[in-house]
């Protein structure tokens, strides 16, 4: 598919610097936007059906393959759902180790997205590689952070991506004392690096042409702290719901132009991800992450999705600051680390339940029904699907505002100049990218029919 040169059409044939395949079509007439389609032609893989007839352990092998970039979150959400269904109690130490692997994924995914994939737009480059001529130190620092996130996952999950060590009931093996100390040391060294990159992101120019009020959702952490796991959902309308109500919260539907399903709440788009978490939980931050949050936060954060990139940068700093504390707690339990994290087998083989975690790009729900040790039904609701309606809304507003600028005082419409068209295309891509979409994930959000 080629870029469109038609006067009344903007077409971005293949979204770059995102995971998966998407394209944008905007059509307008007489200075008004008529159609906005964020098309998702990604090939369906039917994961919800692949897990049927599988054991809980096999489910945990399969579901991370939905998406590499949030593979730890998928594994964690599946583990939570299956453990809730089979009544397996997570030990304190297992929880700490799972939190550590989750921080690893947040650091890796956010550094990749905010600093390597999104930042080039703001600085006028086609890629982070192309930035190296002028911004080599920043690119190398971003890569250092990203590498550290991978290092945590390598140690805790046994691989950067799709590490099989975390499973239902615990871990196959626990990290050694030396490995934990090394993670702690590196995290401490990288805190100033993350702070510097937050500053870089803070000082960027954020276009405003897509601004509109947003509704946010995220999981409510079980304690008063900032965090990425919970059994309740917070909404910026002030509501709070148990995750068991995930179906009513997401209202999935099928649209013809996409193999990914769509979600809305009370007939309105909503937003999940780092920006939602910062808006709903930012006051809970401590330390340098809190200072950065206060310095960066403004009311634009409830209207402008581009601040999602800055929110990711602050969350990266948050994870780096928390990691040494987490490791100190783990080291206190060092003697029982192996036994307390070892795999606990369930007493029952039948049950059903939902489990949720915050993936880097938003709330991720997994639901399973099991009968005699095998899965009989499953439902997975993925963050990108929840964000697609909001993305289209912001695309529409940006397109409308820029098109409106081509209407003269007498109502005559001047066609978009090539530069005007280029600017609009860039803004539309930036909007989609700011949600850090994981498109291959989004295609697997399905409610089983009948």
């Amino acid at each position: 598919m080629e870029k469109s040169t038609k006067v009344n059409q903007i077409r971005i044939p293949a979204l770059a610097r995102v995971e998966g395949h998407g394209n944008i079509l905007v059509e307008f007439a007489k200075g008004k936007v008529k159609t906005v389609n964020l098309n998702i032609p990604e090939g369906p893989r039917l994961f919800e059906t692949l897990v049927i007839g599988k054991t809980p352990e096999e489910v945990v092998n399969i579901v991370p393959r939905i998406c590499a970039i949030c593979s730890v979150s998928h594994r964690y959400a599946a583990i939570r759902a299956l453990e809730r269904a089979l009544d397996i109690k997570e030990t304190k130490v297992t929880n700490l180790l799972r939190t550590l692997m989750h921080y690893g994924e947040m650091i890796e995914s956010h550094s990749l997205h905010a600093f390597v994939l999104a930042l080039p737009d703001f600085l006028g480059y086609p890629s982070a590689i192309a930035m190296v001529d002028k911004f080599a130190p920043q690119v190398l620092k971003a890569l250092r952070l990203k590498k550290f996130g991978n290092y945590i996952m390598e140690i805790v999950t046994a691989r950067w991506t799709h590490g099989e060590n975390p499973t239902v009931g615990g871990f196959g093996s626990a990290p050694t004392h030396a490995q934990l100390l090394d993670i702690k040391k590196q995290a401490e060294e990288l805190i100033p690096v993350a702070e510097e990159l937050v500053e870089l992101m803070r000082n960027l120019h954020y276009p405003t042409s897509m601004e509109d009020g947003m509704v946010f959702m995220c999981l409510k952490p079980p304690t008063e702290k900032y965090g990425f796991v919970g059994d309740k959902v917070l909404i910026s309308t002030g509501e709070e719901h148990p995750i068991e109500k995930y179906k009513e919260l997401c209202n999935e539907r099928i649209v013809a132009h996409s193999t990914a399903k769509r979600c809305c709440y009370n007939d309105k788009p909503f937003v999940v991800g780092a920006l939602a978490r910062m808006n709903l939980l930012g006051e809970r931050l401590h330390g340098k992450a809190s200072q950065c949050f206060k310095r960066c936060y403004s009311l634009s954060w409830i209207r402008n999705p581009l601040y999602g990139n800055l929110a990711q940068a602050i969350e990266t700093l948050f994870c780096l600051e928390q990691t040494p504390k987490l490791i100190d707690e783990l080291l206190k339990k060092e003697k029982t680390l192996a036994s307390e994290t070892s795999i606990k087998k369930p007493d029952t083989k039948t049950g059903k339940n939902v489990g949720a975690v915050e993936a880097p790009r938003g709330t991720l729900y997994h639901y399973y029904e099991l009968n005699r040790g095998l899965v009989t039904n499953a439902n997975l609701i993925i963050p990108t699907t929840q964000n697609l309606d909001a993305m289209e809304t912001h695309i529409r507003i940006a397109a409308q505002n820029l098109i409106a600028s081509t209407i003269g005082e007498g109502g005559q419409v001047t066609p978009l100049t090539p530069q005007g068209r280029k600017n609009l295309e860039l803004i539309l891509e930036m909007i989609v990218r700011s949600y850090d979409p994981c498109i291959s994930c989004s295609v697997h959000v399905v409610e089983m029919q009948g």
Binding site: E19, G43, R45, L46
Partner: protein, 269 residues
């Protein structure tokens, strides 16, 4: 930086988790060398300035599940000297092919058409025509395979350097057991745990057995693996045929199913 003397390289993603391309982006220390060693003309996941033209090497991640992908694949083949499949999706169909050619007559029949309807209903799609996942070599000639779920970074870098110098891909033919022995792990099969190490391609450094967990077969079938022997061993250990088949299908894709068919017929007798 465009350099006409460097081999022209493209990285493409079809249906999959993008984990193999992510593994390349995860080579933080060598990322700039990857982009400098070859002239990377297309890598949609990493950059915006992509051009589609004649290529010396194309790396393909993901399996083929739509007509659009099939057309694009044929286009890539027509303008590319060497095609390299990265990972078990492009090589064998991936996890999304685990139900490939399951006997439709069986009562637990799980055919693709039935599963597709279950997920999306019967409303026709405007966006693409979809079909059951198949590997790249079901459509075009493939020069090399570098399996894994995802690929191993060291194996990729070693073979990337070889390919840039015009040398063929050198992927291990031996099973995981070899690497497992090197790490001096205790054999999990001896503890009656169903481990696919003996029939799975190595290259992962026996990660799972090294954390006391059985190999799930994520690198796909090993050329030198003895499937019959593994099958008989697992039967001896009282695993049912269904359990063994289910495990082998997880990552073995179309290739394992083909290997498996004759075995399955014998077992049914």
């Amino acid at each position: 930086m465009p350099n006409t003397n460097k081999p022209k390289v493209g990285f493409y993603n079809f249906s999959g988790c993008a984990g193999c391309l992510l593994t390349i982006l995860n080579c933080e220390d060598t990322l700039l060398d990857i982009f400098n060693g070859g002239d990377v003309v297309s890598f949609l996941m990493a950059k915006s300035d992509n051009t589609e033209k004649e290529l010396d090497i194309a790396f393909l991640d993901g399996s083929i599940t739509t007509n659009e992908q099939e057309e694009f694949l044929i286009d890539i083949r027509a303008r590319t000297k060497k095609i390299v499949c990265l990972g078990v999706c492009s090589s064998y169909g991936g996890v999304q092919a685990m139900e490939y050619e399951k006997d439709a007559k069986r009562s637990d029949s799980h055919t693709w058409q039935k599963r597709f309807k279950k997920v999306y209903g019967t409303k026709p799609f405007e966006v693409v025509k979809a079909f059951e996942s198949r590997p790249v070599d079901a459509f075009v000639k493939v020069d090399y395979f570098l399996p894994g779920c995802p690929i191993d970074a060291e194996q990729f870098l070693y073979n990337y350097a070889r390919l840039l110098r015009g040398l063929p891909v050198d992927a291990p033919k031996t099973p995981v057991c070899l690497e497992c022995k090197w790490r001096e792990n205790e054999c999990l099969l001896l503890k009656n745990i169903m481990c696919l190490g003996p029939v799975t391609a190595s290259g992962c450094k026996a990660r799972c057995p090294s954390v006391n967990l059985p190999c799930v077969g994520c690198f796909g079938p090993a050329d030198e693996g003895n499937l019959t022997s593994e099958f008989n061993l697992l039967k001896e250990k009282k695993y049912t045929f269904t359990e063994i088949e289910r495990k082998l299908r997880l990552f073995g894709g179309v290739k394992f199913v083909k290997n498996f068919k004759s075995l399955w017929k014998k077992a049914q007798k």
